[in-house]
Structures are given as C-alpha cells and as structure tokens.
C-alpha cells in the first residue's frame, strides 16, 4: 500500500494510472499479450489493431476475472483514459465484439500529465482541415470547436496556422503506415482531453482537490513543442491561500492537553465492543430491507406501497412492537409507541415525566423569539411550587435548573432531562 500512495501526489487519476499502465504494457507483450495484427479491409490494410473481444478475453484470463461484465467495466475505464481506442469512433468505450482497437503511444499517456492548452487543440483542428482526406473530415462538434477557437484566438491565428502548416510538413515526411497509426493516436489523445459532448471527461479533477495539487510533474508544455509567450489560462477555482500551518509552541501545548485527556479515557475491550456491534446488527437484521425481504413486499421492488401504509398506521404489527423492546429511543421514535408509552405512564401516575421530557425536546426546535415564553410555560406547568403536573427532580438538578432560568435558553432544562 505504501508505494502506491507515495506515487500518487494527491491525484486519484495518477494513482489509478500506475496500475493501468502495468496492465497496458502486459497486454501488448509480444508473447503474453493480445494478438495485434494488420487487418485487410476493402482496398487498404489496417495496421496494428486488435478486436474488443480479444481484449476482454485477455483481461478475464490475466486479471482472473470470472464475470465478463467486470472485465468490460475495467476495460472501459482503461479505454476512457485513452490507453487504447476504437479506430473508427470518437467515443472511448470497449465493446466485446469485432470492433477494432489500437493502443495509445506512451508519449500520449495520461501519466505524462498533459494539460494541453487550447492553442494546441487549435493547431490540431487546423491541421486536420489541411489534410484533404474525406476520412479525416471534422466531426460536427469539432467544426464547432474550431469556429469557437478561431473567434477566441483571432489575434494569434496566423501563428496557429503557421504551426499547423509546420506540423503537416513534418507528418508528410513520415511513412504512410506510421502516419496512419500516429494520426489515430493523436486523435485519441484529443478524444480524451476534448471529449465528444455527452461523454465524461476523465481528465477532469475533483475541483475540491485541484487547488491542492502539489504535483511537480504537471507538464505545461505544448504537445507539439510550440513555445510561445502566452499567459496561462486562469481556472475558475484559482484562489490564493492555502495556509500551511507551522506548529507553534501553543499548538504543541494544545496537543499535549488533548493527548492527556485521550490517555485518561478508558478504552473498552475490543471483544466487548465487537460483541455489542454484532448484537445490534442481529437485532435489526430483520428490519433491514437489504437483508430481509419485508412483508408483504418491498415497495421499491414491487411498486406496492402497502408496507409504508402499514408502518404509518396506528395499529402496529408484531414486528414493529418488538422493535420498541430494543430501547426507549426506538419506542419513542415511533408515534404509536410514544402514545402507548404515555398511556402506560399515565396508568402508573407518572405521565408528567414523559410529557416534561417531550416538552423540553420540543423547546429545542422552537423559534428563537418564543423560547423565553416556552421556558416559563414549562416551569409553570412542571416545576413551580404547586404546578399542575409537577415532576420529581432531585434537589441538585432543581438548583441548577432554577439558576439556568435566570438566563432562559433552549438548553435550560438539559440537566433536568
């Protein structure tokens, strides 16, 4: 566990990548990996591809997964990051059939922490328009993106155009087959960083964690090696701070105080604690719809709300009554239980205790302006001399409570309760 986390630099994406890259390297191995080959199609050859089905099979065998759905899921995760991609689709997902996939070049791997700027993306789209092949026509969303970028970069468009031209020149010098492969890998890279609308952007970080990225490996350079003086784009979460508090003497003193109280605390034995948790779960298992199917049926699965009607009713089922036996809290949670308990106390001449308890509970959620009045009302009803429903309080609590009443507040009766 240690080295996994150490390599993470506070980024879940980077963490995941180390595991994935291990798999991706193994899967391309010449002897132990999937069969990557050239496929003949119509008039051309498609180099360096493998079928989705082969990938799924390999995953199941080499990661010891029994369920093909799980293999599909892991495969889709890897595809979403762009480690392999369908050669004829922008949507990065894995299909368990004859769809052809190609592996991404290590240069473009997410672990290199690319954060490509829009200038790079503009160069790429511009370059695509210069290549007169119908296969490489821009998709609708790409055309829209290009138009938007042209408006945004109106002043530097000449520069971008020149860079695109330079890239095209370099590409032309390459071997035809190599170009096919590189072109598709480049396209897949952009499918990850500028995904098709409606697809999840896997490069998006949780914005809460973004600010704290102390990753020094974050590469800000251009994918095309373009050097220019531009300003960095400000992200909306760009805030200053964040304080890294250095331990002062006060801090350590406070810590010592805290540690002393901790030490004084009595720790219960694990066996006792385990037993109490186990007992609790056993008591409540029959009420847990995930474990025990409720009678008559679970309304979420059967669309029959009878269960909920029964629970709201005034006539509790035997099962419901049993729950009241677990603890006073359980009984009082259920309104029918509350009623019954009140009746019982009345029969024993002590209902005023419960009513006092309930009144004080109610006081806690009464609007501020009414608090003082309610406090007085409760005193008059339950605690004053000759009160109609006087309750028994030991003299100590009585003292404390009368003191509290001098400055009445919601919790004046906390002690008495």
């Amino acid at each position: 566990m240690q080295n996994r986390v150490a390599a993470r630099s506070n980024s879940t994406v980077v963490f995941l990548n180390f595991q994935i890259e291990d798999i991706v390297t193994r899967i391309q191995d010449e002897t132990e990996g999937v069969p990557i080959r050239t496929v003949k199609s119509f008039m051309t050859k498609i180099p360096s591809v493998v079928t989705g089905a082969d990938i799924v099979q390999w995953l199941m065998k080499n990661l010891t997964i029994e369920d093909s759905a799980e293999a599909m899921h892991i495969g889709s995760l890897i595809a979403a990051q762009g480690y392999f991609f369908p050669i004829s689709d922008h949507v990065l997902c894995l299909r368990d059939d004859g769809t052809l996939y190609r592996f991404q070049a290590p240069y473009f791997w997410p672990s290199n922490c690319w954060e490509p700027e829009n200038t790079d993306y503009a160069i790429y789209l511009c370059k695509r328009t210069m290549q007169n092949k119908t296969r490489l026509e821009l998709a609708d969303y790409e055309a829209e993106n290009l138009a938007r970028l042209q408006r945004a970069f109106v002043r530097k468009w000449e520069f971008i155009y020149m860079q695109a031209e330079a890239q095209v020149k370099i590409d032309r010098k390459k071997d035809k087959i190599e170009r096919k492969i590189l072109d598709s890998q480049e396209r897949a890279f952009w499918d990850v960083h500028r995904p098709v609308p409606g697809c999840v952007n896997t490069t998006e970080m949780d914005i809460r964690k973004c600010r704290r990225m102390k990753n020094p490996h974050r590469v800000k350079k251009s994918v095309y090696g373009v050097v220019e003086e531009g300003t960095q784009s400000q992200s909306p979460i760009h805030t200053s701070l964040h304080h890294c508090r250095k331990g002062t003497k006060e801090d350590v003193e406070k810590e010592i105080l805290f540690l002393n109280t901790q030490l004084d605390r009595h720790c219960l034995k694990m066996s006792k604690v385990a037993e109490s948790l186990i007992t609790y779960t056993e008591q409540f298992m029959e009420y847990d719809p995930f474990v025990t199917t409720p009678e008559p049926s679970n309304p979420w699965t059967s669309d029959d709300p009878t269960l909920w009607d029964l629970e709201m009713s005034k006539e509790p089922s035997q099962q419901r009554v049993k729950k009241w036996g677990f603890s006073l809290e359980e009984a009082l949670k259920d309104p029918a239980g509350q009623d019954l308990f009140l009746k019982f106390l009345e029969s024993e001449f002590s209902s005023e205790n419960l009513r006092f308890w309930l009144a004080v509970q109610g006081l806690k959620s009464v609007p501020q302006q009414d608090v003082a009045q309610r406090v007085q009302d409760i005193w008059a009803e339950f605690l004053a001399e000759g009160a109609p429903s006087s309750i028994n309080l030991d003299s100590h609590s009585y003292e404390i409570t009368s003191q509290n009443l001098k400055d009445p507040g919601r919790y004046s009766y906390e002690d008495a309760q």
């Binding site: 899921h73 701070l241 805290f258």
Partner: protein
C-alpha cells in the same frame, strides 16, 4: 534541550502511551468475533428509479427523513427536490452560484441547504407562505469552499469547509455559534450522530475527528488512513464511525475502544472511495468509488457481498460522481450521477 524540543518529546511520549493503551485492549478482532455468524449472501442491486432533469454534473444528494423525498445539487446551478417514488420534481431552485458541492435536507422537511465554491451555506425555506422557495439565510464566514452541511434542526446547521474548520450556525440569527478547529487539512465531509450530541468530520489530513457539539471540543481523533478521508458516516447505533478514503479503503472505528476495528479493502480496488452509507441494521456498508462502482461490504466479516456498476459512456446518460445515500429505511439505494 530547547523548550519546543521538550514539548515535542512530551507529545510523542503521550502518543506512544495512547498506542500502548489501545493495544492493551486488543484481546480480539471484529472478524474473529464475527466468525461464527451466518453469512449474508450475495446482494443484487438493480436500478429502480432514475431521476432525470439535471443538465450537468450532480455533485451531491441527500434524503429527507421520510425516505421519499430527496434533494440534489448540480453544477447546472439548480437544487432539485424529487419525489423519488413518482420521480417528479417537487421544487427546482435556481442558485446564485453554480459551483455547488453539497446539499442537505432538514429533518423536519421544511428547509434545504447548499453551498460550494462560494464559501457560503445558503438555506432555503421550502414551506414559505406564498409557495415560492426563497433564500432564507446566507451563512458566510468560511474562508474556504463548503464541502458538506448537515442540519441538526430547523434552527441549527453544521458545515465543513476547505478552510479546515467546521462551524455550528444559528440559522435564525445567521451567526456562528461554535467553530470546530483542529484538522490540518480540508474538511471533506461530516455526519451527525443519531442522538444529535456529536458529529464526525473527515479531512484531507487523513484523519476523522469526533466533536462534542455543545462543548465545541474534539473528543477523539482517528488515524490510519493513508490519504484524504472523503466520506464519513455513523454506524446506526452511534457507537462507531465509518470512513472512506482516497487510499481505496473504508475503515470502521469504534468510539469506545478508541481505535480501528476493521478495514474494508481488496487488491482489485484501485481507486478512492467517494461516499458511503451503512444499511439500517449496520450489517451492510454501501460504498461508492471513483471508478463508478458501488461495492457492498459485509461490515462484520469485511467481505464484499455485492457490486453495482454504472453504465459508462453511453452518451447522454453518464455517471461520474457516484454518491450513494440510503433512505432511512434502507430499502432503496439511489445513486446520483451526472445524468442529463
């Protein structure tokens, strides 16, 4: 030896004593104690309802205590209250700031709250006189993003923030009642105890802290995670705390034994936990992960008994942030994703 040096030594020695005291009570483990219990058997999860309507990533959701209504917050700048049975929208509340990260439903059902990068917690009254839902209060004092908020009642709410503190607010006056400081990293989430006397917070300093609401002090700190604690919850009886972290594990800490009881991990799980919720009996733990899975754990035996996988990458129905929340009856699990 300088004074600082001496103080630090004292602190270290105390920590060692505490570790020794904790070890001294380790006469058994939860797994050993649970060895004899019947297994739970595989749990199959199916989508029962899909709530459609948001136009962007849904960051958070929270159930109402009646287990029928829930509220969700999305970065399309809306807070939506759903009737989860009919899947109808009861309220659609436009927000001032669309960078919302959390939302909460008051136990009474009268109020909802939300907040995010605006560093504020905004309270909305659902039961206003004229039927319109309006902002009731804007609680501003945090110097960092609002990561989580939970109501104690209609008059009090607790918030956790990226400024490493949690605050208890008086909603009526809009003022801070108590500031809970102590975490050394962004507070990511919080949960209130069933008896409303305590609450727990998980932070990016890899720890979870138990706070006494009335006293305003930190009662206990639980360490052991190797990365940010993203999600936190109470065991149903309030005696134990469950945490979920970026280190791909969940842990169960007992309050009375003051230490970790068990860790829920598997070598095939390689990504962080984003949210969690125990089932009603506490026997099962549902945990949502960064890879869009929800794993269901047998809490006593630390074995995985089920899995729920989001469909990935079907355009117009994608899932990113999985945030499983259980209704108080535990009879349904709704995961909020970035559905459109």
């Amino acid at each position: 030896m300088g004074e600082m040096e001496q103080l630090r030594k004292e602190a270290e020695s105390l920590k060692d004593q505490i570790t020794a005291a904790r070890k001294a009570v380790q006469d058994s483990t939860l797994q050993e104690a649970a060895a004899g219990i019947t297994v739970v058997g595989r749990i199959q999860m199916k989508t029962r309802k899909t709530l459609r309507g948001h136009l962007a990533k849904i960051y958070a959701m929270h159930w109402s205590t009646d287990s029928k209504l829930c509220v969700s917050a999305s970065q399309d700048g809306k807070l939506i209250v759903w009737d989860s049975i009919t899947t109808n929208k009861v309220n659609a509340i436009p927000l001032k700031s669309s960078w919302v990260m959390t939302c909460a439903y008051a136990p009474s059902g009268n109020l909802v709250a939300c907040g995010g990068l605006d560093n504020m917690c905004s309270i909305y009254n659902l039961k206003g006189k004229d039927g319109n839902v309006k902002v009731m209060r804007e609680l501003a004092a945090h110097t960092g993003y609002l990561s989580c908020c939970r109501f104690i009642s209609d008059t009090e709410i607790i918030t956790s923030s990226g400024d490493c503190t949690c605050i208890l607010w008086d909603i009526e006056t809009g003022t801070q009642k108590t500031v809970f400081a102590g975490h050394q990293g962004d507070c990511m989430s919080l949960a209130v105890a069933p008896d409303f006397k305590f609450f727990i917070s998980g932070a990016c300093d890899f720890t979870a802290k138990l706070w006494d609401i009335r006293e305003g002090t930190c009662r206990q700190t639980f360490g052991g995670h190797e990365s940010d604690v993203n999600a936190i919850g109470f065991f149903p009886n309030g005696n134990a705390v469950i945490t979920g972290s970026d280190d791909a594990t969940c842990k169960l800490f007992d309050l009375r034994a003051d230490q970790e009881l068990i860790t829920y991990q598997d070598s095939s799980i390689m990504c962080g936990v984003t949210s969690l919720a125990p089932s009603l009996s506490g026997r099962l733990l549902l945990a949502g992960y960064d890879d869009f899975n929800v794993n269901i754990w047998d809490m006593l035996k630390a074995e995985r008994v089920g899995k729920y996988m989001w469909k990935l990458y079907i355009p117009l129905e994608n899932g990113r942030k999985v945030d499983p929340a259980e209704d108080s009856e535990g009879s349904c699990r709704v995961a909020a994703g970035t559905e459109h």
